[in-house]
């Protein structure tokens, strides 16, 4: 039998070290657990400082004893490799475990055990925990802002329809795959735009939207039977003609007579709000800022001085100004430069402003990707007879964009989290609604619940986006 050396545990007495060490670590965790969950202090007889640090010391010694390299036990080896590589790491691991155990009970009690969700007034919230009743009562407002309750189905329907249209790519058959890019880059944003600005907004303008959709659908169906030679002209001429016919010849007069023009109640954008507004603003800004940023980044590398300096000017201007100023200018200053009778909706102005602002960042991110490509790729593309656009679309951009997916995701996440700033122009998305709700005299004092709720929502949105970007990265990884 080898002598036990507690300063240098080795493989010879594996079991002895293992049992002693495990018992010590388990004991230390048990003490902290009892203390934190049941408020019992097993070691209170010891002097204050010692009883405070004893679990840490016990666990530390225990971890030291089980730190045996190549013990042959898989579980032990993986622990040693990941959390117990040396004294310092063992100490950090213990500390983290203890902090988690210590902080669980208060968190649990605030979130669940002592929280209230029943009832529908402030009075039910008597416990020391969170008052989820507040969130429940205000939920509708947090989601839809001041949008009239009776009309909220329009928002739901639009979002469901857009989500469905967005997933079409997964169901596309091989034959239609090649049109997918066109669909997502051009058609989908246009449909989304019409949906949101005409359907959610409602009013007489909604009918223009319906005519547009009908014209588009009819012309697409007929379009499949048109020889590809004429498709180009066909898709320009026919939808417009159909639209004009529908609007001015077939329906317009009749509908005015029937008095049906106001079928969808008009809801001005000032009343939109809550999470749905967060989605609307983020969605459009993402869609718009990307192509603008792309063109700016290409423009900045252009050989034509006018394009080059215009792009540099745009990028540096928008990057140099705080977002809050941009929003303020878009809502206060910009209308002054417009002719008297011209009116651009506040929400549209805000979306344009944020898009331009973020486009500058996107442009610089993409430029980073463009610069990372070796010159040989340009040479090779040129030597095969490709012009500027073919070279960029087929060779350069696919590689550059793939490189900058993390950077783009970064910018997009920042954008989503910047949307609450639109409160400066009086648009209240979810955080804005929270701020409004917390100042309601009926519901004072529940700011915490509101912010926790918003944080969770934002976290879910942003985490989903970041996961998606990571998936994209993996999907397009072709090197090695």
């Amino acid at each position: 039998m080898n002598k036990l050396n507690f300063l240098q545990p080795d493989k010879n007495n594996l079991n002895n070290y293992l049992y002693t060490g495990t018992i010590l670590v388990a004991l230390s965790i048990f003490i902290v657990f009892l203390n934190s969950f049941f408020n019992k202090d097993l070691i209170s007889f010891l002097p204050g400082t010692l009883s405070f640090f004893l679990p840490l010391i016990l666990g530390f010694i225990g971890l030291h004893l089980i730190r045996i390299e190549y013990s042959g036990l898989k579980f032990l080896d993986s622990i040693n490799k990941h959390i117990n590589t040396n004294n310092f790491n063992a100490f950090l691991s213990l500390l983290i475990v203890f902090v988690v155990i210590k902080s669980l009970p208060p968190l649990l009690s605030w979130f669940i055990l002592d929280a209230n969700i029943a009832g529908d007034s402030k009075d039910v919230c008597t416990g020391t925990g969170a008052c989820w009743t507040y969130i429940k009562i205000w939920f509708n407002r947090f989601m839809y802002g001041m949008y009239p309750n009776a009309e909220q189905w329009r928002i739901n329907l639009s979002f469901i329809a857009l989500a469905f249209l967005g997933t079409i790519g997964f169901f596309a058959t091989e034959k239609f795959k090649k049109y997918l890019t066109l669909y997502y880059v051009v058609i989908y944003p246009v449909i989304a735009f019409f949906f949101i600005f005409f359907f959610i907004s409602g009013g007489p303008i909604f009918f223009d939207f319906s005519y547009g959709i009908i014209a588009a659908v009819i012309s697409i169906i007929i379009g499949f039977f048109i020889p590809s030679k004429f498709k180009m002209y066909y898709f320009i001429i026919v939808p417009i003609t159909l639209y004009i016919l529908l609007k001015y010849v077939f329906f317009y007069e009749e509908l005015i007579e029937l008095g049906k023009l106001e079928a969808l109640e008009w809801v001005e954008t000032g009343a939109w709000g809550g999470l749905s507004l967060t989605f609307i603003v983020s969605f459009f800004c993402l869609i718009f800022c990307f192509p603008i940023g792309l063109f700016l980044s290409l423009g900045r590398r252009s050989d034509f001085p006018i394009i080059k300096y215009f792009s540099i000017g745009m990028i540096e201007f928008w990057r140099g100004v705080p977002l809050i100023t941009v929003l303020f200018m878009s809502s206060v200053m910009f209308p002054m430069f417009l002719p008297e009778d011209m009116f651009i909706d506040k929400l549209v102005r805000v979306i344009i402003a944020i898009s331009l602002f973020e486009a500058a960042y996107v442009a610089e991110v993409i430029r980073g990707g463009l610069q990372a490509l070796p010159r040989g790729q340009y040479d090779a593309a040129k030597s095969l007879g490709m012009g500027y656009w073919k070279m960029h679309i087929l060779v350069i951009l696919p590689q550059a964009l793939k490189l900058v997916i993390p950077g783009i995701a970064n910018t997009f996440l920042a954008l989503v989290k910047d949307t609450p700033l639109i409160f400066v122009v009086g648009l209240l998305e979810i955080v804005g609604m929270l701020n409004l709700a917390k100042t309601n005299p009926e519901w004072l004092g529940f700011a915490m619940e509101g912010y926790v709720f918003a944080s969770v929502l934002f976290f879910i949105i942003c985490y989903a986006m970041s996961k998606y970007s990571y998936n994209l990265e993996q999907k397009y990884k072709t090197e090695r």
């Binding site: 070796p374 040989g376 790729q377 040479d379 090779a380 593309a381 040129k382 030597s383 095969l384 007879g385 490709m386 012009g387 073919k390 087929l394 060779v395 696919p398 590689q399 793939k402 397009y476 072709t478 090197e479 090695r480």
Partner: protein
Amino acid sequence: MSDKIIQITEMNKWFGDFQVLKNINLEVEKNKKIVVCGPSGSGKSTLIRCINRLEEHQEGSIIVDGNELTADTKDIEKIRAEVGMVFQQFNLFPHLSILDNCTLAPIWVKKMPKKDAEDLAIQHLEKVQIADQANKYPGQLSGGQQQRCAIARALCMEPKIMLFDEPTSALDPEMIKEVLDAMVNLAKAGMTMIVVTHEMGFAKEVADEVIFMDEGMIVEKADTKEFFANPKSDRTKLFLSQIL
């Protein structure tokens, strides 16, 4: 006159203040194989990059297949499509499979139907013996395989002239042979080729003419046998004595 596919007269080129090419005169006839050699920094690569205008020249004229290359040349892409080029660093497109690398330009530049382009690509990949790798990505191939793919990619545009810019300099000695074999086969098939290389064995085997460049000038231009047996200038003799 008509079989002179490349004509360079009195061409000068500067990078900033530094003159890289001095008074270059060169005529290449159809189906001839020219090897350009010389010490590094002598302007060999710049010379052949000028031929498909990856570099611009400032003085003199370059006429490729009857079209003069100038800043005003509108359809430079058309001329480039007729001049294939193979680079030292292969420069395959890493985001595309080998097959897609070969079909990309025929489909998008020549507007060839996809099916035809793929048949053509397979045909050329077979010639360089990597048809079995067609669905892999460049990153999965060895240097020699990548370079042969680059040759196939250039051939898929069915060029009239092929330019090689030190195609074997970035390769292991073992892989050099497979690339040179592919080039020898190409030469035997009658392609017009201009090859910048240090492989004197290759030059002896296929070249009709050898050009020796130093400090941006063509020092010597002679038939291959003449060039190796009986070099005229001292600079050439020195170079050959070091490299052979």
